[in-house]
């Protein structure tokens, strides 16, 4: 079974190589079928690995047969547990959906775009499966570089190139932070295998270990778009081709968060155990700040893809809070939330891709009343919006319920309420946009408002079969997100997360050759008490949307309300200046604040 682990990323990478070689010679349909086959293979392989890891314990693959001897490892290993394999399978699944959507999307593509998507997907799979810290960095870079190239792919569209530039500068700097941290921890331990490093730093929490941890986590938080490292995300999403946005918002950002959890639990948890409360507080503060900034900015957007991008930032803040709790059940909630959110957000981005294809714009004001022609699409948007707000039984609800459980056990109910408001605001933002696009509700657009960069049409408007091919993934993902809520997976997820945090067992399996253990039965978790919470989120979303759409009809209050809103939003708007050098400055400030807070709290 362990041979499947390298194949799960080798097959996509080989498909990418074949696609770029054959692209100019073979018909487009052959390329699409080849890549679909490769992605489906990766999905199935990773799903089988997840099942195997759940039934028999961590699947370990030593490359080149370099097994550890006497508890010392020189080799590079894939350490596949059920969580990492499930996330890898989800990556490959979203890639499959993106290929279906893109089937008739890029008629002129000679294979380069498809090949880059496949490299991106393969790198992410490797990122999830690897058990080696430097290997993690290499896959991180491979994934990032292909993402930059994909974002700027339509080089005739200069706003795409500009977005790609910001994306690349900020994320590369983040990657250097990770690498610096990796180097420092190697200096201390002489090891790069996660289990080996963990063994060496157990019981050590001197400044060097703390600084290395802070650097690695700060670097991954750039990818996770935690505020104030989040500025690149909205730009990259606004300009990136739609199928790519699905992967960016659905799994790439979450991969950064996964890496934070992986770094803490697989490497530093023993060393930093005495300072767990400090780590928790710092991460929680960043998560909350991210959720608030993302949600507030989300509501202010009129560019549909940017709106969804800011909603991703808000949800990333929620997920960071889930990790920050350092609690296995909340961590299980995080893993479920990644999948639930990825499905919902994927459906929403595909739906906006259809809008863009049909009307050549995603500016909500320019689309007023247009969506009446496509009622099924409006329904898909509405369902997605309510799912973002956490309405049961969508997949997002299950994840949020486990996170909420962790928050209330940590006596952080106030944090839970802020997070609920934040996700409700993102759902409300989508409903607000939908009310304008479908019924033409809402005040007339402010002529002085900032107009977002014009979007270029990605292809000719699709009709007939081509429209169906685009509609299928959009509706399928939303339907799956709905169905996901009926799968009783919460206690398995909690058990898998418990295993994910079991560093001692990982060490024994990786270094001493101990037999891996099957997943135990998970704790019993009751979701019924969270239903109120989820319904409240959806109702709040409707209230927020109604405020956005109808507040102008309250004549006596409207001028004052509008004035307060405009003044209050001036500051966050000024932060999002659109200038890449400012983003580097923010990254420096945020990184310094993060490092200083870590050092202060972890002393």
């Amino acid at each position: 079974m362990s041979a499947l682990a390298p194949l799960a990323l080798a097959v996509p990478l080989v498909a990418a190589a074949l696609t770029s070689i054959l692209g100019a010679f073979v018909p487009r349909v052959v390329l699409t079928l080849l890549n679909l086959a490769a992605s489906i293979f990766a999905t199935v392989a990773c799903a089988l690995l997840a099942r195997d890891a759940a039934l028999h314990g961590t699947v370990v693959h030593w490359f080149g047969g370099w097994h550890p001897a006497h508890g010392v490892s020189l080799g590079i290993a894939f350490a596949v547990d059920s969580v990492s394999a499930a996330l890898a399978a989800f990556t490959a699944f979203l890639t499959t959906a993106a290929f279906v959507f893109a089937w008739t999307y890029y008629d002129k593509d000679d294979g380069a775009f498809t090949a880059l998507m496949q490299v991106f997907s393969g790198a992410l799979i490797g990122f999830f499966l690897t058990g080696d810290l430097f290997n993690l960095f290499v896959f991180f870079e491979l994934m990032s570089v292909s993402a930059y190239a994909l974002t700027g792919f339509r080089s005739e569209d200069t706003s795409a190139v500009q977005g790609a530039l910001s994306f690349a500068i900020v994320n590369s700097t983040g990657a250097f932070l990770v690498l610096t941290g990796v180097a420092m921890i190697y200096a201390r331990t002489g090891a790069l295998l996660m289990a080996q490093i963990a063994h060496a730093v157990a019981g050590q929490s001197d400044p060097l270990v703390v600084v290395a941890f802070a650097l690695i986590v700060a670097g991954f938080l750039v990818k996770a778009s935690a505020a104030p490292f989040h500025f690149w995300l909205s730009e990259a999403h606004a300009v990136a081709p739609t199928p790519l946005c699905v992967l960016f918002s659905g799994i790439m950002v979450q991969a950064g968060l996964y890496a934070v959890a992986r770094t803490y639990w697989s490497i530093f948890s023993a060393g930093l155990a005495p300072h767990a409360a400090g780590v928790r507080d710092v991460l929680l503060a960043f998560g909350l700040f991210t959720a608030i900034v993302g949600a507030v900015m989300c509501f202010a957007q009129r560019h549909l893809k940017r709106l969804l991008a800011f909603s991703t930032i808000a949800h990333s803040g929620l997920m960071l809070c889930a990790i920050a709790l350092l609690d296995p059940i909340a961590l299980g909630g995080f893993f479920l939330y990644v999948i639930g959110h990825g499905l919902v957000k994927g459906g929403l981005f595909f739906a906006s891709g259809i809008v863009l294809n049909r009307y050549s714009t995603v500016d909500v004001e320019a689309l007023r009343g247009k969506l009446r022609e496509l009622p099924w699409l409006a329904v898909a948007f509405a369902l997605g919006a309510l799912a973002l707000a956490g309405l049961p039984p969508f997949g997002t609800f299950t994840g949020a319920a486990l996170i909420e459980d962790g928050l209330s056990r940590a006596h952080l109910d106030a944090v839970g309420i802020v997070l609920l408001l934040a996700v409700a605001l993102t759902g409300g933002s989508v409903l607000n946009a939908l009310g304008r696009m479908t019924f033409g509700w809402g005040p007339d657009p402010d002529p002085q408002a900032v107009t977002p960069g014009e979007e270029q049409p990605e292809t000719d408007p699709a009709r007939g079969v081509r429209l169906v091919v685009m509609a299928v993934p959009a509706l399928a993902l939303t339907a799956l997100a709905f169905a996901a809520g009926f799968v009783p997976i919460e206690s398995t997820a909690a058990a898998a997360a418990q295993r994910f945090t079991d560093r001692a067992l990982q060490e024994a399996v990786m270094l001493s050759g101990a037999a891996p253990l099957a997943l135990p039965a998970g704790p019993h978790i009751s979701l019924s008490s969270s239903i109120v919470h989820g319904v409240a989120g959806a109702l709040l979303a409707i209230v927020f949307a109604a405020l956005g759409l109808f507040a102008h009809r309250i004549r006596p209050l409207w001028p004052a309300l509008k004035r307060i809103y405009t003044v209050a939003m001036r500051v966050p708007h000024a932060w999002h200046s659109g200038i890449v050098t400012d983003y580097v400055a923010w990254l420096t400030v945020g990184g310094a604040a993060f490092g200083a807070a870590m050092l202060a709290l972890v002393r």
């Binding site: 430097f134 290499v138 870079e141 570089v145 930059y148 190239a149 700027g152 080089s155 200069t158 706003s159 190139v161 500009q162 977005g163 790609a164 530039l165 690349a168 500068i169 590369s172 700097t173 990657a175 250097f176 690498l179 610096t180 180097a183 420092m184 190697y186 200096a187 790069l192 909205s234 730009e235 606004a238 202010a300 900032v450 977002p452 960069g453 708007h573 999002h576 200046s577 659109g578 200038i579 890449v580 050098t581 400012d582 580097v584 400055a585 990254l587 420096t588």
Partner: protein, 114 residues
């Protein structure tokens, strides 16, 4: 154990960040990113350095000879490959932006405000 392996790369890293944050030219910005990255080369190579040791190539010397750490050299090599890719891609982007907007000042490129 000396502090130099940490102080020198930290200095280079911060200089690069300062350059990026204040840059008025895209090529300058991209090269400052390379400067930031070279901080990581310096750090990694210094970590593996051993006084009086030879290169870790054992084809013509005995395997008992004191050698520097080969892992860090492999890591640096990987890092350089990544750096070259990113720099090339970014320079291509910069060229594209210049051809369209006629400017290379990142602070004048603000079409995506708000």
């Amino acid at each position: 154990m000396s502090w130099l392996p940490y102080v020198v790369p930290a200095w280079i890293f911060v200089v690069g960040l300062y350059g990026m944050a204040t840059s008025r030219h895209l090529v300058h910005l991209i090269l400052c990113l390379s400067v930031t990255q070279s901080a990581t080369y310096v750090l990694i190579l210094m970590i593996g350095y051993r006084a009086g040791a030879t290169a870790p190539v054992f084809s013509d010397v005995l395997s008992t000879v004191r050698a520097t750490d080969p892992v860090v050299q492999a890591v640096t090599l990987t890092d350089i490959v990544v750096g070259a890719t990113v720099t090339a891609l970014l320079l291509a982007f910069a060229l594209r932006i210049y051809k369209t907007y006629g400017t290379t000042d990142p602070q004048e490129l603000r079409t995506m405000q708000g």
